[in-house]
């Protein structure tokens, strides 16, 4: 006779499992949910926004939150909610693109300097050491100031300033893996070094990279908006959170809602990335007992 477990039992066991997984990974779930909202806003901003992001109406300038304008209007009567929603695309894509770039180069440099011994590794180490002594923000501001306001400058600034920390973290992990027995085994049977690096070292370092990337994305959002705040972000009238915050600052006493809207958006996006990073670590890192 075939052993058939009653369907109910199975699904309730599944439910318990899902519930336990969810409660264990509440950060991961929360972060993913928040970021999913931002991704939707970034993809369909114009369709979701109640008004055109650049639609001016001087007769409705600087109005507080109301049923017509949930987050109020700016000095040109533009709807702040619409500007914040449409601005999501800019900030999110800057964060994602610049972190992808910094991961690519950081991982490349980290793999080489961690795995290879010799003058090349020493040179990379020295370079990264020097770059790490310069505060991220200062480096980003200088690069953005030279490149001028605009998306290219912003992405370059962030990815260059974020590459050294990633490279350093990857290098540490690679040096750990390098000494493992399975690497020695692979070497013994004559696997080529680049193959060892790509097939055996990189996958084992992937967890660290993914976690670090998601945490860095949060920092990238802060750096991007800070540069916008300082006037190094985008050209008007493009809505960008940091720029909105910078304009709003002057109106703090008369129209505090001008800083609340973009401030909240920035906080939530950074929170999303940080929750995702911490959640991924809890979930993926075996040393934490999962």
């Amino acid at each position: 006779m075939k052993l058939v477990s009653p369907a109910g039992t199975s699904s309730s066991a599944q439910r318990v499992f899902v519930a336990r997984w969810l409660s264990k990974n509440v950060y991961l779930v929360g972060g993913t949910f928040l970021l999913l909202m931002f991704v939707i806003a970034a993809l369909f901003g114009e369709q979701i926004a109640p008004y055109g992001a650049n639609k001016q109406n001087l007769l409705e300038a600087l109005e507080g939150p109301s049923s017509d304008h949930w987050l109020g209007t700016d000095p040109l009567g533009r709807d702040l909610l619409s500007r914040v929603i449409v601005g999501t695309r800019h900030t999110l894509s800057v964060a994602v693109i610049s972190v992808s770039l910094s991961c690519f180069f950081g991982v490349l440099l980290g793999l080489i300097s961690g795995f290879v011994r010799g003058p090349l590794a020493t040179a990379i180490d020295a370079l990264v050491d020097v770059a790490l002594t310069i505060p991220n923000m200062i480096l980003a501001i200088s690069i953005a100031a030279v490149m001028g306001a605009g998306m290219t400058g912003l992405i370059m600034a962030i990815s260059i300033s974020f590459t050294p920390p990633i490279s350093r973290i990857v290098r540490g992990r690679v040096m750990e893996i390098r000494e493992e027995d399975f690497i020695a085994a692979a070497r013994t049977i004559g696997v080529r070094p680049w193959r060892i690096l790509l097939r055996h070292v990189l996958p084992n370092a992937a967890t660290v990279i993914v976690i670090e990337a998601s945490l860095q994305a949060g920092q990238a959002v802060l750096t991007a908006t800070a540069l916008g705040f300082l006037g190094l972000g985008v050209q008007p009238p493009t809505p960008e959170w940091g720029t909105l915050l910078g304009y709003g600052r002057e109106y703090l006493h008369v129209a505090p809602f001008m800083v609340i809207a973009p401030g909240l958006a920035i906080s939530l996006m950074v929170l999303g990335f940080n929750l995702l990073g911490d959640g991924l670590r809890d979930w993926l890192d075996p040393r934490l007992g999962n």
């Binding site: 001016q56 001087l58 949060g218 800070a226 009238p237 002057e250 703090l252 006493h253 940080n274 929750l275």
Partner: protein
Amino acid sequence: MKTFIQRTIQLLLAVSASVLTLSTSASAGPDDNTLVYGQRLSITDIGPAYNAFLQYPSGYEAGFVIFDRLVTFDDQLRFNPQLAESWAIADDQKSVTFRLRAGATFHDGTPINAEAIKFNVERMMDPEINTTNRPLWDPIAGADVVDDLTVRLRTHEPYALLLNTLAHGSGAILSPTAIMENGQESETQNPVGSGPYKVESFNPGLELVLAPHDGYWAGQPSLDKIIFRYVPEAATRISALQSGEVDVIDGVPTHLIAQIEADSDLQVLTSPSLRPMGLAMQTTIAPLDNVEVRRALNHAIPVEAIADKLFLGQAKASDSPLAFNTVGYSGNEPYAHDPDKAREMLAAAGLADSDGNGMVEHEGEDLSFTLLVPEGVFANDVLIAETAAAALQDVGIGVEIRKIERSSFWDTLRLPVAEAGWQLALFGFNPSNASGLYHLDSMYTSNPDNEGRPAVWNITRFSNSEVDDLLNQAKVTVDGEARAALLAQVQDVIWSEAPYIWLQVNNNISASRADLSGVEVWPVIFTIVRGGSY
């Protein structure tokens, strides 16, 4: 989760940074008879020579307290005697004789006599020493000592603006003794003048402290101390004023006036400025070389709405290339805001939307201009640019705003046509000697090389022989009414040729503690604390 908490705290700090910058600490109030003036720009050097008050207008404002001039303006920009008691113009109109006030001395005790005036005038005539205010001083031919208290200034031609030049900040009279003893360049850091207050200490870029001049010819100054302090952020200046840390501030944004008015301890000080704002057009580049296109663009911008809504009434739509209070101003028929008319005029000039995409085409491509704008140089500068861009888009002209760092703004404005990279730029000229002739001459006289850098501020490359002739006549016309008639014709031509999209003239807005009197805001931007008292 420690790192997570740390990061969250960092985030909160970053987002609320703006709030934190507002926190100020209360210190010296008005009780100690000290006036602290929080300026939006710093003072880096003092004195009329060399770079002449490098930071504008902050350095000039200090100069007006430390130095006397032969004549001065009042807050309506009329001439008043200062070191000169009286003056007389010669019959040939090529010299003016000044009778000096008796008994006036410099801060170092040196008496003020005809020799001292001659010394100062000759310094300003020297291009090596006076490097920045050449157009004001070039017409002057020399100074003669008639007797100890009488000096005669000669000009090459009849010079209608001699008094304007002498009342200008560069007309400051300094102690010859101090300059001879301490070296020509001593004045930039430690100048000796004859005004009611003298330099006590100077920390360039941060703070200038002045003490009373006990031998001042008009009697003992009423304050114990005047401090000029650099406070760049508008919101910080206002908080400092409210807390009593400073007593006077300049550069109050229009939307923050209500906050000051609501505080009975404070008062708002305003004056209409002499700087008419506009969008400069490169008039040598097609299609902006067509006057009908330039006029059409003038009909496209809602200037009244900018003045009323953006400046909350602290501005007025222009009706002349000169501001309403400039000497020589005459009004014209305004370009009414009428987008339909603008579209018709553009179509008549060959700029029509033939492919139905909402944008007009020029030589087969959608027409689009680059609009150059600085951030924080002119009141509401970026907001004006965004409003204008939306209004031009509404009549089918694309606008790409190029916001530029304020330190490189002035130079980018003056680039040769081929390198400029902009077709529209937000600009306004401030005639710091209050003269409409100087204003029109600086902005609209034809450039010697119209493709290169403009000689003065003719950045639109406007070139009109009638205007050139009329301005040349006005320069040698000493009679005020006759000169005004010539200037009215000039304004008429320029207004209808429309090298600018004319915008607004806004007020200079400063504020002070209500118990402080005698602080003046001059139409030429300057806030003058010289006569302040509690």
